[in-house]
Symmetry: C2
Subunit: 208 residues, 2 copies
């Protein structure tokens, strides 16, 4: 069974959404997004493990503390020890669903990558974790392609907007309200977020 | 053979890129993006037709003038007369490639849609054009889903970031430089555009 590692920052996350959500709401929304990702990977038959900066209360979720050294080093310590294939999937892609995650897992290549917006890496599947290392700082998509190439690993880039769409800014909330189906969409709707249309362009507003 | 209709505005396009490209450059870049889309649909065995606001010089491309009434009305006049299945594909999605367009064409449903960023519709495949009409103004993705439902047509939403990524703003140029392979990437590179990394985030700058 593939282990899905989901890095998760619980405290003061998603600061670029501060214009729309206060700190405790951002924590709630970040957790809702993470739970949507967890639901997707579980539906795709992965075992979900939260790699968290701080623990949080949950009876259902396996949590592992992220060392202070940061995400890249933490993962590079873990990968050589992994006993199965590993899926590293970001917690801020709540449009993830069973079908999109399965497309990643069903790759016939050694590695499957879904780029994030702005040159990042949102999802990476590593069939044999002992052969690969990650580098999440700055333009990680290109770096991961190069690391795979240098290791002689074949890569498939999975073309999915559901996994490509990371939620960072106000405009991104439109995507959650249009295409979301899970807890993060419900979280926004319960707090008065709705779509608006001005001059033919769709935006988001909050009715309090 | 499926006809791929590509709406194209030649004059003063993409004004939100004015901070990076002057008017004649925006026209050149818009044309390069359109030609990337044309190449993709041709590789996917479609017949490309440019639905343009103004004619432009080309020996290779079939051009049809867009009436002043605008895109939605123009297409809704055309659809009932179409003699084959129709693919309507935007000219500003230069990451389009053969594989992503074929995923749309190979749908088993009556309609296949690829949403654009911000609730729009970037690609729509209509197997029987006499049964469908379009509405591109404001939140068109949701509208097209509803029109299909009301007409009793089965819809597949195609999950593709290559077709989802419309290029409108400076930040979007990062996607062209990271994932592009065609004329629009070359157009930017020839004019000094390169990727930058600041504080771990990828941006774009222009060296003149």
């Amino acid at each position: 069974m593939t282990v899905a590692v989901i890095p998760f920052k619980r405290k003061n996350p998603k600061t670029r959404l501060s214009c729309m959500l206060d700190e405790s709401e951002r924590e709630g929304f970040a957790e809702a997004m993470m739970l949507d990702v967890v639901a997707a990977v579980k539906q795709a038959d992965c075992q979900a493990v939260i790699l968290g900066t701080e623990p949080f209360e949950s009876e259902d979720l396996v949590q592992v503390a992220m060392p202070e050294k940061g995400l890249t080093d933490a993962l590079n310590e873990y990968l050589p020890c992994a006993l199965s294939s590993v899926l590293i999937i970001m917690a801020d892609i709540p449009l993830a669903d069973e079908a999109s995650v399965k497309r990643v897992l069903l790759t016939e290549k050694d590695i499957a990558i879904v780029p994030g917006r702005g040159g990042g890496t949102n999802v990476i599947f590593i069939r044999d974790p002992s052969k690969f290392r990650v580098d999440y700082y700055g333009g990680s998509f290109t770096k991961h392609m190069k690391i795979a190439q240098e290791a002689g690993l074949a890569v498939e880039v999975i073309d999915s907007f559901r996994l490509h769409t990371d939620i960072d800014e106000k405009e991104d909330l439109v995507e959650v309200l249009v295409h979301g189906t899970g807890k993060s969409r419900a979280y926004l709707e319960e707090r008065g977020f709705t779509l608006t249309t001005e001059k033919g362009r769709v935006g988001v507003e909050r009715k309090r």
